[in-house]
Amino acid sequence: MRLPSMVLTLVATLLAGPCAAAEVAVAVAANFTAPMQRLVPLFEQQTGHKVLASYGSTGKLFSQISNGAPFEVLLAADDETPARLERSGGAVTGTRFTYAIGRLVLWSRQPGVVDGNGEVLRGDGFDRLAIADPRLAPYGAAAVQTLRSLGLFERLQPRLVMGESITQAHQFVATGNAPLGFVALSQVYADGRLTEGSAWVVPTQMHDLIRQQAVLLAKGRDNPAARALLDFLRSEPVRAVIRQSGYATD
């Protein structure tokens, strides 16, 4: 009589449905790497679901998703890419929302270099200024907008070095190859403070608001873990963590 009861137990477990732990494949914008890495264990603990996260520039992730990459959720660095996916059918309509509002920061890994007003940009104490490629990264576009708002774009353009992503822009500054750079606040911020160096948080009126939106992708339509992840990101305790990581929330 043992085999039939074993079979019954097995069948019952398989029929348990959505309560079973699932996996969700999520594509995450490079600038959100650090906070995501903090949030993933919290999510996994809370829900029992497993997260497979891939990090990259939003442009690259879009190409991959458009060409069949098996991602189920996208955390983009902008609001345009999720909207495009929605229009093309790559994402499920009505699931788009702003999970974070990005803050641009002028950063140097040396303390005392960047003042609280960004006046260092007007001087000649630096030969290179790192930014993310404005064509590819919203933070790069915001950096260019900021320079234009300050009237410094023409003057500083010859000194610009462009990273293919905000991660690379940060890399250039972190390795000292560029003494200054415009990076995402989240890259140099943790637990509510700057982690190292000196920084000027750029006032939001100097550039277009960096609305980072998340969306459920077509491949994740029937995955309970995917929807659970999106709900998780909207919950108030998680929004607090996101703010602590250097973002604003709606």
Partner: protein, 233 residues
């Protein structure tokens, strides 16, 4: 031709093409200059240093280009030995400069230049050189008029491979280039930028131009190499 490409390619694309060709040419010439003595030594030496040096030369083949590029970035930076040297000499930093890319390309393609030359030197053996010696040639004369001509196919291969490899170089340039138009913006990163920026039309056009051009050059070089061989007695 320029009329056709002028409408399909932007000024930035054309500048990237020119820069890529400059980089490939400069890298190939510099590499052949460095690889000749190195390959010669590796082919002829009996020193116990042969094996480790050989392994070191082959190392760039094994490392992923982005990893290679990342470590070059660190080495060239103010914390790295190369960066500290260039700063002490008053040259600033090598990252984001054409010279920096050149050095990166040389390291990246080193095995492609050394290996064919070394094989060619080893294949011609010791006999011709011994004969040259008995006829009174100095080591330099023996190298120049005997060893080098015999290794010509190897030289062509080394040159072709280095050139082609540099044209296609991406990972290293991505890490240390900074994508500065006219200085470090090459075709491979330009195409990548077009793809990432979802400008697929530009990406396709630039890639097609690169493909056709490179194929043409390589075909020409291969034919040149073959003709030379038939001329030899």
């Amino acid at each position: 031709m320029s009329g056709l490409t002028g409408s399909l390619l932007t000024a930035a694309d054309l500048a990237a093409i020119r820069l890529t060709l400059e980089l490939a040419t400069a890298t190939t010439l510099l590499l052949l200059l460095l690889a000749l003595p190195l390959a010669w030594w590796l082919a002829r030496s009996r020193s116990p240093w042969r094996a480790p040096v050989s392994a070191l030369v082959t190392l760039p083949l094994v490392l992923p280009p982005t990893v290679l590029g990342f470590y070059l970035l660190v080495l060239m930076g103010p914390d790295g030995p190369l960066g500290r040297f260039t700063q002490a000499m008053g040259w600033g930093l090598l990252s984001f400069t054409f010279t920096g890319l050149l050095i990166g390309s040389v390291v990246y393609s080193l095995p492609f230049a050394v290996q064919p030359l070394r094989d060619a030197f080893e294949a011609s053996g010791r006999r011709p050189l011994e004969v040259a010696q008995t006829l009174g040639a100095t080591p330099w004369q023996a190298f120049r008029s005997v060893a080098l001509p015999l290794a010509r196919p190897g030289l062509v291969t080394a040159g072709v491979l280095s050139f082609a490899h540099t044209i296609g170089e991406f990972g290293v340039v991505l890490m240390i280039g900074g994508n500065i138009p006219g200085r470090t913006q090459v075709v491979s990163t330009q195409i990548y930028g077009h793809v990432e920026g979802m400008d697929y039309a530009s990406a396709h056009t630039l890639a097609a131009v690169l493909l056709l051009f490179s194929f043409g050059i390589l075909l020409g070089l291969a034919l040149l190499g073959r003709r030379r061989m038939r001329v030899l007695p």
